[in-house]
């Protein structure tokens, strides 16, 4: 009973958005009925036809995918070094990484804006990818270090004795072994970059680089707020995340807890 209540509480607002997205405009301003009397996909059609929405989704996909790949490459290299090799000031490095993850984004947004403008990167996807890669790195490093630590040191030494260079051990042996961790990290980084708002709002100015959160926040409404369209757009951009959550909830939970508790 309580469980059912909890489930409803967590999914209710999204279900309501789904219901809203299926209502024609005339029904939006009437309550009751709660469920649409003549359900329609009109809002979905208008979102995809009237707005630069497909382009915005593409931008977000490119940014999130690139960020995920870059963050995993840099993060796994760093995590491997920290977990398996000798590095001076290891504790200091981990502490530094952790403290960076606590930086409030608002504290760096003004200088980054000036730097990005000076580099001519304003309104480009590159600016977002670089920023997101950096801000997701602490998470990648932290989670992956925990995963690499669980791989026994003997495996590393045995491979070295067999003639692998440290880098070969890293990508031939350690990466495959840490695959579950890599995967968990990838999902977390992807969701972070898919959802980020402050930097995207600041660095982008046209649809050339606008991402989904900015698109939804600045949804065009000349006279009144187009609730039906917003609901449809919200449902569309949330679907990939819901799929991720249902398919990989175990991995997500592993990643979240490895990132914060074991550390």
């Amino acid at each position: 009973m309580l469980i059912a209540l909890l489930t409803l509480y967590c999914s209710g607002p999204l279900l309501w958005q789904l219901v809203t997205s299926l209502k024609p405009d005339t029904e939006l301003t009437r309550l009751p009925p709660i469920l649409p009397e003549s359900p329609t996909l009109g809002n979905y059609v208008s979102v995809f036809e009237g707005h630069p929405f497909p382009r915005i989704i593409l931008n977000s996909a490119v940014v999130a995918a690139s960020t995920t790949v870059l963050s995993l490459i840099l993060g796994s290299l760093c995590a491997f070094g920290l977990a398996k090799l000798r590095i001076g000031g290891k504790g200091l490095i981990l502490g530094f990484v952790l403290s960076v993850s606590m930086f409030p984004p608002i504290a760096t947004v003004s200088p980054l804006y000036i730097i990005i403008r000076a580099l001519g990167l304003r309104d480009t996807l590159t600016a977002l990818i670089i920023t997101y890669t950096t801000f997701s790195l602490p998470l990648s490093i932290w989670v992956l270090t925990n995963f690499f630590r669980e791989i026994p040191d003997e495996i590393y030494r045995a491979a070295r004795v067999d003639g692998c260079t440290p880098f070969q051990v890293f990508y031939k042996i350690m990466l495959p072994l840490a695959a579950p961790g890599i995967f968990a990290t990838a999902i977390l980084v992807f969701i972070f970059s898919w959802n980020e708002f402050l930097f995207a709002l600041t660095f982008t100015s046209t649809v050339a680089s606008r991402t989904i959160p900015v698109g939804i926040a600045l949804f065009p409404g000349l006279h009144e707020v187009p609730w039906g369209d917003i609901a449809a757009a919200s449902v569309v951009v949330t679907i990939p995340l819901i799929i991720l959550v249902f398919a990989f909830q175990k991995r997500i939970i592993e990643g979240l807890t490895a990132g914060s508790i074991r550390g």
Partner: protein
Amino acid sequence: MRNEERGRWFVIPSLVLLSLVTVYPLIYVIYLSLQRRLLIFDVSRFVGIDNYVSLAGDARFLNAFKNTLYFTALSVTLELALGLAAAVLINRSFRLKGLVRAVVLIPWAIPTVVSARMWEWIYNTDFGILNHLIGAKINWLGSPFWAINAAVFMDVWKTTPFVVILLTAGLQVIPRELYQAARVDGAGRWAVFTRIVLPLLKPVILVVLIFRTLDAFRVFDAIYVLTGGGPANSTETLSIYAYKVLFQTLRFGYGSTLAVVVFLCTGAISVFYIRLLSKGVRL
């Protein structure tokens, strides 16, 4: 025994990127905060700590500070309470456990902006489902009293899943025999919870508090999209005020000063919790 090979080249790329994109801007923002800089007029002049001095006389800053503290304290408290209850609930065994856990993750996965827009529609005075369900006509986002609390409630909905996930992980580490033994000894459910579960969960609770307090203190997207800081600045937090000074009035000097204040506060919060945590571990 450790591997004795040097690994600095594995670590350096990440450290360089982190330094360039976070540490350097942080130094830069402190430098900016000591300037009077208007982006459009190309005005840029060193003014020392003048900006910091003006903070004390800035009623809007003090209001934003107050709002941020209220938002942080209330939302973190509610999230922890609700999260604990839900974690204890989920930790029992029942059918469809995996499904329920996935559903609980939904609010966490939804983009904050989308969730703000969803709640904006739920809170709508005339056509919102909330007023319909409780049979009232409350102007949730139009009255200063309700607006900040509506923002808190939305944040609680959005972030409780994170609390639940971490606390559930913490609960699973506690051996079941411990509960059973206590129950056999005649302890009631509540006694088991307060005397056994809570103390054992304390480190995890502290970790949750660190993450949630820091996130709530720097809240931006959720409130910016839900209310834009209104009505009458009643929901304007420090991050939103800083953002508006920076990018709406383009006063980069003073805006950076506000940003530095947010940074210093979050730094103080982290130090406070980390000291608590290290004390707790030793005990």
